[in-house]
Amino acid sequence: MRLLNLFKIATKAIILNKTRTLLTMLGIIIGVASVIAMLAIGEGSKESIRTTISAMGSNMITIKAGADTRGGVRQEASVMESLTLSDYKAIKAQSNLLSYSTPVVEGKGQVINGSNNWPSSIYGVNPEYLSIKVVDLQSGSMFTDAEVQTAAKVALIGQTVVDNIFPDGQEPVGQMIRFNNIPFKVIGVLEEKGENTFGQDQDDVVIAPYTTVQKRILAIDHLNQIMASAISEEEAPNAVIELSSILREQHKLADSEDDDFHVRSMEELISTFSSTSEMLTILLVAVASISLLIGGIGIMNIMYVSVKERTKEIGLRMAVGGKGSDILMQFLIEAILISITGGVLGVLLGLGATVFIEKFLNWPTSVAMYSIVISFAVCAVTGIFFGWYPARKASALDPITALRYE
């Protein structure tokens, strides 16, 4: 009852000083709005990185031959021929945490169809490749395990390759093309994926059985990579550990020796990118928090002036029976009301700004619930913290002096 009355008194004081209250709130409004907008931008970019990487296959794990020192000369990883088909078979046989896996051999060359030609890359893989990379087919079908066994000259091509060697809109499936003068029958076209985060055209590829590419194009018997996909995103780090131990055993590495291969999961990539954007977010929020702090000081300033200005009123309230605690609560409630109302308006403005940024600047944004909760809590605390000192000052006034104050 008493608190309700004090609440009414405080509301009344706020309503009587609309302009001043609004100006006081402005600091808080801008502070909260910027915290929310900044966090939304940060979260948005983090999320967009995650989606892009997920589109590349978020469970994906790649194994590459690692750098090695031969006769004291450090070798580039791609030169290494330490990854073999038996490594792949061992992984396939021993690992429990993989849902798909494929050997990968890759080469560059010219794709030719009649008078049209186009430089592209060829990837030799097995049929599980599509599941690992999360790619569908536009038309045609994937080659079979039997075709891998027999090193059949069949290939699937990406949209960029289609555009360049079938410029007149011919249906590619069923056509014969040549890659480095080796004829391939096109049996399917890959779904368009566009560029990845790094600006690589993911549609500029030719996919063929790895046996075919090994024997007929590259004339090698080692593998460039092994690609696999963990049974889930959460298991990916465990799968990395498991694969490492399988490979160490395969390569008969002593405990003292370093790995001669690299196992990487997308999770690492995601966290690398996320931590960069996280740092940026922290920086932005730090700047925004400063404006929130200044907003809080603004409240203290105004409340302090307000106490001075209303000294006589405080004296009167005390004379007619207001206790020190009543006066304290009155001013504290006023400060909290100002900061919380400012907080609500700030949240609304922040959400508005976020929508604006998304719509007109085309930046990815994502409003996290926690950002709203946090900035709101900070507001309430700001109100209490910065309202306390002036309120305390008001409540400690001597009614006699306050009444005589001019």
Partner: protein, 247 residues
């Protein structure tokens, strides 16, 4: 014999100013009985304001006893004093001390806001009754800026009545008003006094004292005179005698 509302015995109040001790009140004793209309007079420096502060429970005596409505005020805490002010005293000030931009009825409600025993409905009802009693029943929602000085002081009087105090304490309540309006206010006080309300009026204007039933004159912190007024003037009659205003 009506009961004593105020009992003061050998009341002393000293202030320490640096190294010097100022004796504002040097042993004052008097009682105020229910239904009395007392004026406390004295020139500046007589201890009048200190007396008022102590009577109003805004200040504590250094020694001696002060009892209001059976409650010994000495050694009460700040909060307990606030409660006594809230329940037993109605204050009226020279400069009205109304809350600006706040309607008359809300100004009158103020003391009841600090009394949690009074509900919102009762608060409004009592405030309206008090305003009707002072003749402002038609101006409940006017703000101080829309009221004349006399009307503002009436609102202040209504505010002092709203908590049914045992005593109204007025501090130079007519000091800011012209003669005509002060007579109007004095006649209102006399009317309230006739209804049984105890009034203590602190002033330095001698003609105000003629409207009261008793006068206590302070000088240098002591009671110089304390006499019953045999010939109480009627403020209403004095008002009638004033020349008519043209406007």
């Amino acid at each position: 014999m009506s009961k004593a509302i105020i009992k003061i015995e050998d009341l002393k109040r000293e202030f320490t100013m640096g190294t010097e001790t100022v004796h504002a009140l040097r042993g004052i004793s008097f009682d105020i009985k229910e239904g009395e209309f007392v004026t406390i007079m004295g020139s500046s420096g007589s201890g009048k304001s200190t007396m008022l502060n102590i009577l109003g429970c805004l200040d504590q005596p250094t020694s001696g006893t002060y009892e209001i409505d059976g409650v010994r005020v000495k050694d009460l805490s700040r909060n307990e004093l606030a409660t006594i002010r809230n329940e037993k005293i109605g204050f009226i000030f020279q400069s009205y001390n109304l809350l600006a931009r706040t309607s008359a009825v809300e100004n009158v409600e103020l003391p009841l806001l600090y009394n949690s025993k009074v509900s919102t409905e009762e608060r409004r009802k009592r405030a309206i009754e008090a305003l009707e009693k002072v003749g402002l029943g038609e101006r409940l929602h006017h703000t101080p800026a829309q009221l004349s000085g006399g009307q503002q002081q009436r609102v202040a009087i209504a505010r002092s009545l709203v908590n049914n105090p045992v005593m109204i304490l007025a501090d130079e309540a007519t000091g800011n008003l012209d003669t005509r309006t002060s007579y109007e206010i004095m006649s209102l006080f006399q009317e309230l006094n006739k209804q049984g309300i105890t009034i203590t009026f602190v002033t330095h204007e001698p003609d105000i004292a003629t409207f009261s039933s008793r006068t206590i004159v302070l000088k240098d912190g002591a009671v110089m005179k304390d006499y019953k007024n045999e010939n109480i003037q009627s403020a209403a009659n004095e008002l009638a005698k004033l020349p008519k205003q043209d406007d």
